[in-house]
């Protein structure tokens, strides 16, 4: 059978709490022939709405950290002197500050330090009523979330190929840093969801610049657009200037939160007005992904 070209859509926002996961869950209910992945690995929420049944669980090793053989350590202090992260004091490692660079290991004259793989979380492949779903749980206080994002995305592509699916839906993390960068590389389209607040506008501009930086086409959705119509108009004109299509405007609607409290996607909860808007949005996105718009 001929393999379809796999398209990847990343839902991001810059600012947190604008509705990425709500939107990703709604699209999970609307889209066909797809696999979902939650790339917000340090505060993952999409699993709360997709009712996953875990099929596979894997351990994630994010990097290496130093272990000191205190019997060999002579307290010479060289490790403390060279460590730029102030993470080791005469053989005692502060795991929170340590970035795993291994400088201490190389410099130790007694060879008292070894680097060991650090267990940094778990990731899962699940089956959901909406299709396959890859998600993760970064260990508490662990680093290298970007690397974990890369791991789950790689698995998602494998699943798409294996099951001949043509769409990957990415629920992205907030911000513009390392996990976001890892969520955006190689995607076909960025959908940025924002709200008509000064913070929302400020953060939207930064995430769109990041998307431009990677030369990825972008679209914008304004959530709770009726909270401030003036700001919504400002977002619309910014989008026009930036060449990002404003694909949808969702009103403030308490039923969206009600659906969430019932742990349901907005599509599976009685909320006709918003459903209609989401359906239209999804059709527009699908056409763009297929290259028809």
């Amino acid at each position: 059978m001929e393999q379809n070209e796999i398209k990847q859509l990343a839902i991001v926002s810059g600012k947190g709490g604008t509705g990425k996961t709500t939107l990703a869950a709604a699209f999970a209910a609307l889209a066909k022939n797809k696999v979902m992945v939650d790339c917000d690995v340090d505060a993952a929420d999409l699993h709360l709405l997709l009712q996953p049944k875990i099929l596979m669980q894997e351990k994630y090793f994010g990097g290496r950290s130093p272990h000191v053989d205190l019997d060999k350590c002579t307290q010479c202090g060289l490790c403390t002197e060279v460590c730029r992260f102030h993470a080791i004091d005469n053989g005692v490692v502060d795991p929170v500050s340590c970035e795993g660079c291994g400088f201490c290991r190389h410099i130790c004259p007694e060879e008292a330090i070894v680097m060991e793989e650090a267990f940094s979380g778990d990731w899962f492949v699940s089956e959901t009523p909406y299709g396959p779903f890859v998600h993760a749980r970064l260990g508490i206080g662990e680093e290298n979330s970007g690397k974990l994002v890369t791991v789950v995305r790689k698995k998602t592509v494998e699943i798409a190929k294996e099951k001949n699916l043509d769409l990957i839906l990415i629920d992205g993390p907030p911000g513009i840093g390392c996990p976001v960068t890892a969520s955006l590389t190689g995607v076909n389209l960025v959908l940025a969801i924002t709200e008509p607040t000064l913070s929302g506008i400020h953060d939207l501009e930064r995430i769109l610049k990041l998307s431009d930086h990677f030369k990825i086409p972008s679209m914008v959705c304004v959530n709770k657009f009726d909270i401030n119509l003036e700001n919504t108009a400002q977002i619309a004109s910014y989008c026009k200037k930036n060449g990002s299509r404003l694909i949808g405007q969702i009103p403030y609607e308490p039923k969206v939160v009600e659906a969430l409290v019932q742990r349901k996607t907005v599509i599976d909860y009685p909320c006709n007005e918003v459903q209609g808007i989401l359906l239209k949005m999804w059709q527009g996105i699908e056409m763009t992904l297929r290259g028809e718009a």
């Binding site: 340090d42 505060a43 508490i140 680093e143 000064l198 401030n228 939160v257």
Partner: protein
Amino acid sequence: MIISIASGKGGTGKTTIAVNLALSLSKGTVQLIDCDVEEPNSHLFLSPTIHQVTSMGIPVPRIDESKCTYCGKCGKVCEYHAIAVILKNVLVFDELCHGCGACSYLCPEKAIFEVEREIGIVQEGSADGIPFVNGVLNIGEPMASPLIRKVKESIQKDKTVILDAPPGTACPVIETVKGSDFCVLVTEPTPFGLNDLELAVGMLEKLGISMGVVINKADVGDREVWDYCQSKNIPILMEIPMDRRIAESYSRGVPIVVEYPSYKQGFKGLFEKVEKLHESSRRNGAVK
């Protein structure tokens, strides 16, 4: 006292709490530092006058080709694969480099020197008598933690320092809350809010930082956040109702206490509770 304002979930109101708390305390006693360098927002509410802008860089390696023997030691010691020797070429991948300095120190020929590569800026100023600092990460720059460390160097220990943290529970958040005397976790009473609150609580427990919770939009959603806090014995410091007027003034970048000064009392109350909890945890710590 250093108070960080954090939350697992984004958009729950960290900046709102940080800014309004700062504005509710006596002038001259408080400093506000925005540690969300990826998406800084506090300045939108305070419109500070910036006195000083400092470029922040991390050291990255450069090669003196006249000394390099292409032995490959640098590539072997770099845990981040940020430097590699391929035939008679040394490749440096700046975005992967953490600036640890191992390659330059360990180069047997002393052929590696370091240059500063800008990753963002630190802005210092003041807003209505409140000393203000934030950091702005350059677009496309993956590593936020070094810039957060730099921003925190401006902490004035004699003041009540309020740190506005980024969302989540990963490295940038840890970099922010590390060293705090108390952490206020802002959440909302929804399954997302609860799930991410639990993660944030786990993080603070691991770091050994005392905490309390502010429940924003307290009248939407369900009661599970309250049950959880009770079961974990985490004090609820403040509840803010869902108020469309607050949402609208937020959207215009106007702090609640500026638009509705009566809210000041609530934020003062929040601070007094934090002070008391900090004091009692310090006493308990001393007993231990």
